[in-house]
Symmetry: C2
């Protein structure tokens, strides 16, 4: 395993991601740090985000190809065993601990020979609140579902 240095820049980026449980874009980080007068190179931001993603410390999303990727801090290691639902309207990340996932994985494996990697997979769509209210604005929600259907 490659050594990881704890640099000022890495700490700044990680900290910002921890404080903002919602999705954050590379641009958000760049702007935030610039506002704080803390200079961190653009390339460093992207490289650090890549590393953090590889290490599973944060998760990367692509909601809209136009506006680029979003990143989000992952709270805990258990996130490898379930699906993530990402609302394309408000950006909410929903952790789905549902037994139905076993069914999904079974189908894909038995019928398609495909071994699903649930930790890497993100289902995109509209969350309950956004589906109902029809608002285009975000809710800035971070919700979690742990149903047992």
């Amino acid at each position: 395993m490659k050594a990881e240095y704890n640099t000022r820049q890495r700490a700044l980026i990680l900290n910002f991601l921890k404080e903002n449980s919602a999705h954050v874009s590379a641009r958000d980080i760049i702007n935030h740090l610039k506002e704080q007068g803390l200079s961190v190179g653009t390339a460093t931001i992207y490289r650090t985000l890549d590393r953090l993603t590889e290490q599973g410390i944060i998760k990367k999303f692509v909601i809209d190809e136009r506006s680029g990727a979003c990143y989000q801090f992952v709270h805990g290691a258990e996130c490898n065993e379930h699906f993530h639902l990402k609302c394309i309207k408000c950006g909410a990340l929903i952790h789905m601990d549902c037994e139905f996932i076993a069914e999904i994985e079974e189908h894909f494996f038995k019928e398609h020979g495909f071994t699903v990697s649930s930790g890497k997979t993100v289902i995109y769509g509209k969350c309950a609140r956004c589906s109902n209210c029809g608002r285009d604005e975000g809710h800035d929600t971070y919700s979690r579902c742990s149903c047992k259907h």
Copy 2:
């Protein structure tokens, strides 16, 4: 409704999409037409693809933010429900037209209130060949599944 002109360029693009039932990127079209010696401007390709998408004649997908959007001719209404499976080993993209997807969408909606956007969702995992042979190298495969399980 805006009038639609049948131009040489529009016909060429639509024809290429019809001949390639699989995903086709803007670059594919640009390259294909260049090879044929048929000159069509890049901007025209994008503008035409946008129009065709708006009219529902083709469908737009974003599988990988790096390689840009893909387009696909729609042979009817059934094409609205499909997922993409992406092999994390060989990179194969599997286009899945499977009735099980309706079940998945139903579960997510009924139990989680979540409206799945199948066009944006990509399931990651290992394809049949990579699961079996254990190779780390890519197969460069492009396969299509149209099972009816």
